[in-house]
Structures are given as structure tokens and as C-alpha cells.
């Protein structure tokens, strides 16, 4: 027995039970990725054919006392993967019927996304970390 009225329980949530949270986060990550993706494209073009030493130099150069390129790349990867999970959830919601299949696929997507993000950030720390 709850003291909450049915109206209050659903207010602002709608049929998704999570309101506009997913929609809003997808848009905010998209907006952040516009400049970051442009920067990433420019960075990759600037590193075409580069040796490992030159890539290291690019990622560790600290014009303002901080490894700006490594930080931008880290931000790009984390926001990109967040945006990816939100997008893949929409695809799964659209095409996968049945609660368990949906649950299993979303679990796999999130686990893989977490692994890719963790590996990337770990590599970035090895490259430009404070050691």
C-alpha cells in the first residue's frame, strides 16, 4: 500500500517509465560530440602515417601543463560510447521482441561498451597518465 497517488507516480514519466531522460541524454551527448568528432577527424588526419613515437608525442604534449590532446581523446571516447549505448538501446527496443532477449542483449551491449571504454582509458593513462 502506497500513499502515492497514481497520477503522481506517472507524472513526467509516460509509457517509457523513465520520462525524457533517454531522449535528453542522447541529444546532449550528440551536441557534445559535434565539436569532438570534428577535432578527432582533424587529429587522425594529422597523424596519418605517423610512427608510434609521433603519436605518443601528440598525445603527451602539454601546451597548458596538461595533456590536452589525451584529455580531448578521452572525452571523445567516453561520450561517444555513452551515445553509442543510448543509440543501440533504441535499435534493440525497435527490433528485439521479448523481455529476456532484450535484457540479454542490453546486458551484452553495456558490458562490451564498458570494456571498450575501460581499455581505451587504461591505454590513455599508460600513454599520458601522471606517472
Amino acid at each position: 500500500m502506497t500513499m502515492e497517488t497514481p497520477l503522481h507516480r506517472v507524472q513526467g514519466l509516460g509509457s517509457s517509465h523513465s520520462g525524457v531522460r533517454h531522449f535528453w541524454r542522447q541529444r546532449m551527448t550528440a551536441a557534445a560530440l559535434v565539436p569532438l568528432a570534428v577535432w578527432f577527424g582533424w587529429a587522425v588526419l594529422g597523424l596519418v602515417g605517423a610512427s608510434e613515437a609521433r603519436v605518443l608525442a601528440f598525445l603527451t604534449q602539454s601546451p597548458l601543463g596538461i595533456p590536452l590532446n589525451a584529455i580531448l581523446l578521452g572525452a571523445f571516447i567516453v561520450i561517444l560510447i555513452y551515445h553509442m549505448v543510448l543509440g543501440l538501446q533504441v535499435v534493440i527496443d525497435d527490433y528485439v521482441y521479448g523481455k529476456w532477449g532484450k535484457l540479454a542483449l542490453m546486458f551484452l551491449v553495456r558490458a562490451a561498451a564498458f570494456a571498450v571504454a575501460a581499455i581505451s582509458i587504461f591505454a590513455l593513462f599508460r600513454i599520458a597518465g601522471p606517472v
Partner: protein, 139 residues
């Protein structure tokens, strides 16, 4: 319902779906946005691989580099370059839609073609710069 003599339910009329409509270009750009998004998801694995290769030293990076330079690697990289350019450009269009702009059919059709053409130009342009030695400017 006892008073209903029908035993089997009559098939209900279905609303027309993808196979019925003549494809407007906006339908193509919409599905392309989803497909490029799916493809780019796999691209994050390549991005992680590249970073791990950089962190692991010159020998490991050499392995990554030689695969990336092969014709197959170049084909895959061109695909990801175009997919990123497309998803970025069409994503900007999506953000404009969210702000209420660009819904008129004529505008939407024109912008669809603009996104297709610009994304191809961006990918071809990036590879043209790379192959003519204009890339790799971070010495």
C-alpha cells in the same frame, strides 16, 4: 462473444509499411543514420585497439600500422571515415529537427541530398589529403 457468429478473427487491415511506399530520400537517410551508427559502434573497438597499440610500444604499433596500411585496412578505414562523416552531418540535421527546423518536405529532401553528397566529399577529401601527403601534419 456469444452473439458473434464469427469463429476465426478476420485479418485486420494493416497500415502500409516499407515495402509499399515509393522511397523518398528522407527514408533512405533515416535508415542510413541507423546503419552508420551501428557500424560506428564496431569502430570503437578499432579505436581502442589503436590506443592499446600506441601504449604497447613500437613493435605492437607496427603490427597495427601494417594492417591499417593494407588494402583491406584502407577499405575499412574509408568505410568508417564516411560513416563518421555521415552520422555527424545527419546528426546535426537531427539536432536542427529537435529545435523545430527543417521539416518542410522540400527542405528535408534537399538536406538529405546535401548530407549524402557532403559526407562522400568529406571522406574522399580526407583520403585525398592523406594520399597526397597533406595529412600527417603533426610532426
Amino acid at each position: 462473444m456469444a452473439e458473434n457468429p464469427q469463429t476465426a478473427p478476420r485479418p485486420r487491415p494493416l497500415s502500409p509499411h516499407l515495402t509499399i511506399y515509393r522511397w523518398p530520400v528522407t527514408m533512405a537517410t533515416s535508415i542510413t543514420h541507423r546503419v552508420t551508427g551501428l557500424g560506428l559502434s564496431f569502430g570503437t573497438i578499432l579505436l581502442a585497439w589503436w590506443l592499446v597499440a600506441v601504449a604497447s610500444g613500437p613493435e605492437t604499433y607496427q603490427v597495427f600500422s601494417s594492417i591499417a596500411r593494407s588494402w583491406f585496412g584502407q577499405l575499412v578505414l574509408f568505410g568508417f571515415t564516411w560513416a563518421l562523416a555521415y552520422h555527424l552531418l545527419n546528426g546535426i540535421r537531427h539536432l536542427a529537427w529537435d529545435l523545430g527546423y527543417g521539416f518542410a518536405p522540400a527542405t528535408a529532401n534537399r538536406n538529405s541530398w546535401i548530407v549524402y553528397i557532403l559526407s562522400v566529399l568529406a571522406a574522399v577529401g580526407a583520403f585525398a589529403l592523406a594520399y597526397t601527403g597533406k595529412g600527417g601534419f603533426f610532426a
